[in-house]
Symmetry: D3
Subunit: 66 residues, 6 copies
């Protein structure tokens, strides 16, 4: 019954599929529980809503591109 | 002060209203706390972001419809 | 695949069992999904760790008992 | 490494920036950890998805405006 | 800045270390972000607090052992 | 109705009280909502359960002390 949530920005459809498949596989192996008992939830968030070290990620990214 | 969150796909307006009313009522009764102290939050997620047993729910649903 | 978490203080063994059974039953009915697809997780927290209106719940409760 | 999440309705761009900056600053000071180790995540939710005392916030707000 | 939480029962010290290392490695590879930007948090929960299909996991496990 | 959760290691009783009071005060001011509508929840986690950059925090801290 493990439940794994991944708070990210906006992964592509393919990245979400791979996160779900690979994280379930590896966690099922480590915890010795069947893959069928795992739920994985990918949560998407705008870079405007993420704060890293007190700064909005949207601003950090804009500054990097300069 | 209990806080209950419901990670779902996309319930309708009416389903959200019923989830909030019914879960609050039942949990208030069981925990013997006033309904006014409860917060319920319904979180919506695309089926693309849910992994069940290592597979994207969007793909599981598409396969079922075949 | 819904996942429901209940942030509470410390429910008894029996209250946890009832929360799990009753919330699953009602949510399954409202969302029209089988009960077997639901996970419910009861999270316990000391009243020292809950803040209500900016005040620790442990202090609010101690004041009420006076 | 603290991780702080703020479940709100829909703050403005400016409010999000201030929440991230101010909460990081104050929590860093209280916990005596560098600001660089903090992540803050602002989560947005429609008022339709919030339940307060068993009632949808969207309905509470609509009734207040009458 | 991704934040990954793993709601489990009680993994051993070694299992927690492996979950943290392996999930970070694979997610970093898929999302093309440096490992240093990842936080993983393993959350422990008694089987009494997990509900699977409306039943307490502690009871499901006790019945299996009979 | 905002709900703020703080995932930390193990703050002292006094630090928890200050986190609750200060975060509520600042967030209430920024979001222009009454303090009474805020819930803050401090979640404690062993350093064994935190992963930073793919490494257990307990191991990072032990290495620093050498």
């Amino acid at each position: 019954m493990p439940f794994i949530s991944v708070e990210a920005v906006h992964p592509t459809h393919e990245q979400k599929g791979r996160l779900i498949a690979e994280i379930t596989r590896i966690a099922s192996e480590i915890l010795e529980l069947p893959q069928s008992s795992f739920y994985v939830l990918v949560k998407e968030n705008d870079s405007d809503n993420w704060g890293v070290g007190g700064k909005q990620l949207s601003i950090i990214l804009a500054e990097r591109e300069k």
